[in-house]
């Protein structure tokens, strides 16, 4: 499995042509182009929708998807068939748990958020144990955990009045002048994820393990421990995403996470992250999240049936995968 970093490492500074070339060749470039295309299409097709309103609305919903997608990106980048299919179920359970603790009171805001994240971390720990200790394939382990969580949510949610704290709800819909606050929060989380992945020894180890676990092991990392940590990270981020999704909607619902199982993977794939592992792209996940959100806005603007929206999303993912320049290894 030879993974070549597609980003040119050296470029002649100062020449505009070299800079443009670097941008165009960047693996997350198609996601940004798609994002802008969807944006233009919405503005063109809907009379009266402002440029900025369209984008900022997408940035709000996109942030929730971004956070779930970043967790997925870490897991996929760790390689070894890493994938987290429990994201959607973790989000729903965390949403109910956080709302239960908050009980609609601002006083319980911090414990509520922490409870939601903790539930996600716990689910991630179970995933990590099943996959790295028991040796289950990530797909089966996370799916089985996901279905178990679904059952827990089904039973637990019957006794919960899922109302989020008003302050958190206000946060998800607040604007600083023209800029949505949660959009800034999303960018901050993305920058943090970038720093962790590309600028810390821990992040470099995730990519190294994803590229070649044996070589990384010989170089002194413990591949299974690194991979296990990505599942915990993904669980925690999915928990946070669930808390935010519940706050944005005003409360938790049993179908809250439903769309995120495919979408969290889609944003990673569309963003140019190698599905076989070894190279994560935070900027791509961000662009992919906004792109997917804009696409669903586009579907609503054109009054497209929900069924066709699913079809388009599915085909888009398969197309991006099929056209990607570096075909991943099997599975």
């Amino acid at each position: 499995m030879t993974t070549v970093d597609q980003t040119p490492q050296t470029s002649t500074p100062g020449t505009a042509g070299a800079f443009v070339g670097r941008v165009v060749r960047h693996p997350s470039f198609p996601a940004f182009i798609g994002m802008i295309a969807a944006w233009l299409a919405i503005v063109a097709l809907s009379s009266g929708r402002g440029w900025w309103d369209t984008f900022s609305a997408a940035a709000i919903v996109g942030t929730i998807l971004l956070i779930a997608g970043l967790g997925q990106m870490f897991v996929i980048t760790g390689g070894n068939g890493g994938i987290d299919l429990s994201v959607s179920y973790v989000m729903t359970l965390s949403a109910f748990f956080a709302c239960d603790v908050m009980g609609g009171q601002d006083a319980n805001l911090v414990p509520g958020i922490l409870a939601g994240i903790a539930a996600g971390v716990a689910a991630g720990l179970v995933n990590a144990l099943l996959i790295e200790l028991v040796g289950m394939p990530p797909l089966v382990g996370t799916l089985a955990v996901g279905f178990t969580l679904q059952t827990i949510t089904l039973i637990y949610s019957g006794s919960v009045v899922g109302v989020s704290s008003p302050a958190l709800r206000a946060f998800t819909t607040a604007y600083w002048g023209p800029i949505p606050v949660i959009g800034i929060f999303g960018v901050v989380v993305a920058v943090l994820a970038y720093v962790v992945l590309k600028r810390t020894s821990y992040g470099r180890r995730i990519e190294a393990v994803g590229q070649n676990a044996i070589a990384a092991g010989l170089a002194g990392t413990r591949p299974s421990l690194i991979r296990a940590s990505t599942f915990v990270l993904s669980g925690g981020l999915a928990g946070l995403a669930g808390v935010l999704a519940a706050a944005y909607a005003g409360g938790a619902a049993r179908n809250l996470g439903d769309n995120y199982q495919l979408a969290s993977i889609a944003v990673v794939v569309i963003g140019g992250t190698l599905i076989a592992g070894g190279r994560g792209l935070v900027s791509g996940v961000w662009a992919g999240a906004v792109l997917l959100t804009l696409l669903s806005t586009l579907g609503n603007v054109t009054r497209l049936a929900a069924g066709w929206q699913f079809v388009i999303q599915g085909i888009l993912i398969v197309l991006v995968l099929a056209l990607a320049r570096t075909p991943g290894s099997r599975r």
Partner: protein, 330 residues
Amino acid sequence: MTSLATNAELIDGSGGRSRLSALIGPWFLPVVAAIAIFAVMVALRPTVGTPLGVSLVLGPLIPLVFAALAQMFIIAGGDIDLGIGSYIGLVNVVIAVVLPSDFALGLLFLVALLIAYAAMGVLIAVRRLPSIVVTLGMSFVWLGLALVILPTPGGAVPPEIAAFTRFSTPLIPGVLIILVVVTLVVALFVNRTRYGAVLRGMGSNAEGMRRAGWSVIGAKVTLYTLAGFFGILAGLFLSGQTGGGDARIGVSYVLLSIAAVIIGGGTFRGGEISVVGAVAGALVVGMLGALLQFLGVSSDFQVGVQGLLLVLVLVLRSVAGWIRAARRAR
């Protein structure tokens, strides 16, 4: 995992025991488990043992058996299919909505669906794409198309199809005949024909098969076509039993079919499969659901219990692997 373990047994086990374990094979445990669960059900409700009882208990499991066989062919190729559930739902909708209004168009639709599965195999094999993501993406295409045709549950399955899926004889329940015939035909094809061996080899050593002169892409296409075929059969029988159409009816078959193949002795790495095991595995997970209903457990728990069973089987299998490895090390 299992292939390693089997080799180890052949090496360290003395004569008789290894021959016995080779004879028993990975399908043995799931078959015993299926019989045991059925026995418990008969003990709880003796009427289950009558031909009518057998039909009523096993009948609803036929679609799952076909779904498990579909998943088995994909796993044999070293892949995984996350789209089989939505695919079965789409087949159900086509049979309940398109077939009654225009039979030829409905038939054409089903053929197109089969070709679509073959095409998916080509795409995955030629571009070496990860099957998880492709089939997950396609699952939304199937679900989306089904929702376009039938946004809310409805439609009516033609009575001929319903009658066909419920055929029975006075003496032997039709369900048993279907189960035995299908299992025998598929098992003979997979285990006793030359191309069956090639297909089984694709998951464990595609490169070796290629060097032996077999087309890897051809084998992948065959596997995906077979999976599509059994997916359509699953949808057909499901339609006959429910009598109506519902785009989301098949969603639970993704986990259940994977669980059936794994419980039936299949492995992901190495693409090892057992036909008898997969059928027995489907009966185990399916009857477990029915047993829970008998015991008065809420249907809310079913998916969780079936998920836990899958986890339990895999945990036990890896514990058995550790014990074997420890014994070998001594």
